[in-house]
Subunit: 148 residues, 2 copies
């Protein structure tokens, strides 16, 4: 069956060879080895790596990606059901993020009108005194959510 060398995986995914080796070290992929010790990947590994790239792009840390991927069977080729479960969780994370950014954008819209981030009476910044009173600042803008 398809045994793909690291260089080809790199070409197919667009990742650097060094990055793929790093991902293995981080436990995101578990390629096999030839008798001579060279890594042997399979298609499922390319898919794992694709997922890694997409998740990375969304700002998910490698540690978190590993956690997500741990729901997939390590060496058995994942079934459609495995991936569907993962995709669903992923989609919901995406939704959350999009929603957060959209709210931020809408709040910013109000700002542009009022010259906000510059004027004190904006809905975002209130007066400095009010902001000081409950220990805020850009938190209004950021919706009081943690960065990730």
């Amino acid at each position: 069956m398809a045994s793909i060398p690291i260089g080809e995986v790199a070409q197919r995914t667009g990742l650097a060879v060094s990055a793929i080796r790093y991902y293995e070290e981080m436990g995101l992929v578990h390629p096999g080895r030839t008798a001579g010790g060279q890594r042997v990947f399979e298609r499922a590994d390319i898919r794992r790596l694709s997922f890694v790239m997409v998740a990375q792009r969304l700002g998910v840390s490698i540690a978190d990606i590993r956690t997500e991927l741990s729901s997939l069977p390590d060496r058995r080729t994942p079934t459609k059901t495995d991936w569907t479960r993962l995709s669903r969780r992923f989609r919901s994370a995406l939704d959350t993020r999009i929603q957060g950014l959209t709210e931020l954008r809408d709040r910013l819209d109000g700002c542009i009108g009022c010259g906000c981030l510059s004027l004190d009476l904006c809905q975002l910044h209130n007066s400095d005194d009010m902001a000081a009173a409950n220990g805020t600042g850009p938190r209004y803008v950021m919706g009081d959510e943690p960065p990730n």
Copy 2:
């Protein structure tokens, strides 16, 4: 006029004191100094820092934030017009990002249906052969855009 010490700026913005000093070093804020050498901030600086926090949250690097902020007058208190110009550019970056994520999500939706990232005949992954033919992989998913 309002001369705010660094600790108060930290409280109001939610930033660590050390982070604010770092931002000064990186050229994102330019506080004044007392005769004794302590930093003196003004309201405009808090707004700059708020902007920094929001931009950071969107994944903008400090170097890029500095570039953005350079359109504001360094020491003169920015006018409403200054901030409006900045906000508009910012809003458009936000739009781009939201749009990218939304497209990603929609493509993922197709995937969930077909068990993609797992099956070869998905619209995202085509067959491995086709993907190999034009040197792609997750690029379909990522819309061929650079990370930032």
